[in-house]
Symmetry: C2
Subunit: 224 residues, 2 copies
């Protein structure tokens, strides 16, 4: 923590989170791959070996081990930007579809090996208070999905499809209905198996429950 660890890619000025070069991205992918393997040998030497680069280069690019891990977390976060929900005309059916997509997408994310490894890493570091990995993961996970879903909820309310006072509270209910015990079980090593089918089913169930709680004129239209 003494030396550089500031500018990640000097050749692309102006970007603060610092877009990594292709080679740097390959290194970060190596880190991601490495931390998903159970043996968990996440050492600088292992990263250098896996990425076929020298340790000197790692330190030159990322400053220290913490910088490398932070860059890795941000790198992964930067490509989860998928799934924009363009505002279409909202009726009961499209709202339900949107919610289902959100829930299914979220379940897919939190059950992916990458997310599990990343969250474990960030949680470990949150214990030692040595970095802000936890904040980064939160910002790109729980809070990011909140910021993307809340406009949908408010549009649903504006369209008379949903009824709630506190958007945040409504979102947290949806979050709980969708996620339930999945994330904590996976983080603790329970081998919960979540296939596409289960995710789709659970996302639909959570959405139906949410609409039961917050839907307005909408009710059970014998969906399934």
């Amino acid at each position: 923590m003494t030396s550089a660890a500031k500018t990640l890619a000097p050749e692309t000025p102006g970007l603060d989170p610092a877009e990594p070069t292709a080679r740097q991205a390959a290194v970060l992918d190596a880190v991601l791959a490495l931390m998903q393997e159970e043996g968990g040998q996440l050492t600088m030497a292992a990263v250098a070996r896996r990425a076929s680069c020298s340790k000197e280069t790692l330190y030159k690019w990322f400053g220290d081990r913490d910088g490398l891990l932070t860059a890795t977390v941000q790198w992964q976060a930067s490509r989860v930007r998928a799934g924009r929900y363009d505002r279409q005309r909202l009726d009961a059916s499209s709202l339900r579809d949107s919610l289902r997509d959100f829930a299914a997408n979220w379940l897919s994310v939190i059950s992916s090996p990458t997310s599990i490894a990343l969250n474990r890493l960030a949680i470990s570091h949150a214990a030692s208070k040595q970095s802000n990995l936890g904040q980064i993961v939160l910002e790109n996970g729980r809070f990011a999905i909140g910021n993307r879903l809340k406009p949908v909820l408010e549009e649903g309310r504006a369209a008379g499809l949903l009824a709630f006072d506190d958007t945040e509270a409504a979102f947290r209910t949806f979050f709980g209905l969708a996620g339930r015990d999945v994330q904590i079980r996976l983080l603790l090593g329970d081998d919960l198996k979540l296939g596409k089918a289960e995710i789709a089913r659970d996302a639909a169930a959570a959405t139906d429950q949410f609409l039961t709680l917050y839907g307005r004129t909408d009710q059970k239209p014998a969906a399934a």
Copy 2:
């Protein structure tokens, strides 16, 4: 992992999880205290210093570092056995009270510094696959509350107050409604403040939502 690490307290035979002696319990409490401090110096030397005992004794009693941590987790688990819910006659009101108590108790547990530290530790170890701390924590957390709450749900169903097919699914919904994003945020270091008042309010809200989803003839009896 080469030497002892089997019988924790030879002077109390017959107990498999091995009730620790008073002195040993003091050591385990030192570990618990140590892992709640942010600096997180959870080394054998630090434990010995904190507990005013020698490292040699630690190794004699617990075998190795992993044995010490496992004993600590089990020690903490052994005293969360509080909150037995004696089956009283179940009416709508007492069921609602029971559910609120469960939710409030669970929120208190997961927001306590001890639980946070313990879960962080277990999650870190789940990454390295080096022990079964994760399983122990799951067994005494998520699954323990499930086993205690499910009978209540089934009594509620038997009494005609609740309607559901799958007890496990109903419990998981309750779990999600109560916990929502609380645990993951706390584990990742978000400084979410949960006082008694918030817990009581959130537990009541979760219970009301659960009863809306699963209650039978029961509805909003203008409780508050």
